[in-house]
Symmetry: D2
Amino acid sequence: MILEAVTTKIFSMSPTERLAQLFSEFPGIGRRQARRFVYFLLSKDKVFIKNITNALLAVQEEVLQCEQCYRFYAKDKSSSPHCPICMDEHTDHSLMLVIEKDVDFENIKKADVHAGRYFILGGSIPILEQDPSKKIRARELVAEVSRATKEDGLKEVIIALSANIEGENTTQYVKKILEPLSEKSGLIVSTLGRGLSTGTELEYSDSTTLEHALKNRS
Amino acid sequence: MILEAVTTKIFSMSPTERLAQLFSEFPGIGRRQARRFVYFLLSKDKVFIKNITNALLAVQEEVLQCEQCYRFYAKDKSSSPHCPICMDEHTDHSLMLVIEKDVDFENIKKADVHAGRYFILGGSIPILEQDPSKKIRARELVAEVSRATKEDGLKEVIIALSANIEGENTTQYVKKILEPLSEKSGLIVSTLGRGLSTGTELEYSDSTTLEHALKNRS
Amino acid sequence: MILEAVTTKIFSMSPTERLAQLFSEFPGIGRRQARRFVYFLLSKDKVFIKNITNALLAVQEEVLQCEQCYRFYAKDKSSSPHCPICMDEHTDHSLMLVIEKDVDFENIKKADVHAGRYFILGGSIPILEQDPSKKIRARELVAEVSRATKEDGLKEVIIALSANIEGENTTQYVKKILEPLSEKSGLIVSTLGRGLSTGTELEYSDSTTLEHALKNRS
Amino acid sequence: MILEAVTTKIFSMSPTERLAQLFSEFPGIGRRQARRFVYFLLSKDKVFIKNITNALLAVQEEVLQCEQCYRFYAKDKSSSPHCPICMDEHTDHSLMLVIEKDVDFENIKKADVHAGRYFILGGSIPILEQDPSKKIRARELVAEVSRATKEDGLKEVIIALSANIEGENTTQYVKKILEPLSEKSGLIVSTLGRGLSTGTELEYSDSTTLEHALKNRS
């Protein structure tokens, strides 16, 4: 089996090679930077490495994934299987933002522009994908939207995905799977407004952006 | 005088240095690339240089600036002081797009998203500018909007400037100088819609873009 | 104390923030990528995190620093306090390459261009540094060169540092502290040859490089 | 014929399109920047365009190409067919630097590291080129080296080409065509020294550079 082969290979490596190999799997990290990480750690004292291993174990033990929105969140005394936002009565439960990943959530949270719930799709659907439902939490989204419509007064789902080809392909798919719920219960399904984003220069704008910017003028 | 000093300096230069000096004034061209241009021209035959000097003279003689919208356009038999777009009865004369410069016009024209008139401001206003009216065709814009409202049935002015600090500063100023006309004649003054532009990723969006994208959702 | 303050701050953070904070200290990693690392780890299974913590502990326990050349190397059965290169009788012990850091060693090793010993300075000396001996293993270098001259037949030290201002400043300092040994024992102290490096284009070369390239012509 | 077609196409263009078309043939200039050049010129007064056309004509009329070294140089009273460097008795006529192009000459001149003559090859030879003698002034070089050896006391030819694949391929070819002269008259043919160029960091050096830097150590 491939996994065994890889595992064997990893354990015949030297400790530094093994650690570098693992770091090189981190997003955006090549072999060279992975090795630099290892030498960086060798140059730090034992306390730093202790702090990292502790933090790794803590993340593994104390971080839960919300059973409603699939966000990761820190476990607290309540031992609720739902994250603070899903549980908070001050959350606007009539509005759900469907996003791709946790870092998108962090960026939107920091911008402080959405008072409602979230749902993390956990991925996006490439063009020509044969089995789109495998790439995102499709079944989970339909179930949660259905539940929230009935139980929490959900009125509108805003699909908030990136304005690129893969994002738009995913948006089309999400719209399609939410259509039955929309027809049955009057749920509104919307998408983010298009137009000039901060920094856009007229001279370099593509025609789609210009078209939306003109249509959405105010 | 400074100009004389520069002129004297230019004429004491060798022909290649003099030409390189002039090319280095072109937008985005440094001294090194200016010299590369000169050697490129030296490597071309006489016909190429003849073509360039002819084209330069033709541009100077055959290109006019429209007295209404301030676009540059090629002189034709009609010898009208107005460009084909301002003269065309198929143009939607109720709608005027106010833009910064001719390349913006070209980009919007290529996108084929606006059927109305144009007005070229000819610049933008930096933050803290003491004398904003000197930086753009302020007086000319007010005069042309006033004229077009009366004579051509102009109903709406769309300020179409870049979504950066200088563009927004210019937009505020243009709004202010058009306010009296707007109040008097009911002219609508609008700005381009903000939101996600093509390629924008949620993870990297700033809060202003996210805010507008949510507000303009549909 | 500052350290206490930082420690307290770290432990009042959530587990994900704490881990992100530690990753953001890694070389070249900003806050955003540090968070991406955390979410990447959350998305991996327990085995991956187990592998990382194991590899971190292994690196800490099984990697030693050579008492002669200060390279990091994997502990083996011999339990020698010296690395395999320093111990190997096939190493050319008459030649020592003085380099800044372990990744430089790896790059030179991969190139397979040096058959001798190494010495890792562990840093470089910025221009105008008040206390240069604190920035690199100055005392250790003098001691090791002195020892190797007597015991191992060392004949030449090649200072192999980067061809930038800080590298050249460090080279001057290393030359100076080795001068007494050089005078006493006839030890040769040399530096890497300057000239065109792979990819250098004549058009963009600086005068120092051109000067050396002409002088070292062959 | 293609040329006629292109010419016809050019003359059916508007003056601005025609000038933009010509600018887009300049090295490193795309269609967008070519248009920006045209609008830049439209925004300048008549004097600027006059200055450019004059400078273009002056370059064409007053710049000559040296019949010995093929450099471009400004015509002077002497009306010599040879450039000032070839004519200057202070030039070290025993040494000739063979370079690719005029901008390389300018860079070397500025660095003030060579007191001898030059020869401009006028190009370089791509790998796998079928007819290398067409890509550079091969015949002219052999003739000029032969002449200068006899008449001007030329003793050494330094091939000074870029340290990349095409440069090295060209160097090999130039060496080969100069071999007969070298054997017959004892002419030395050398190449620039390889090693660390300014800014090179050890961590990122390739093996060829490291090998030369070690070999040329001093």
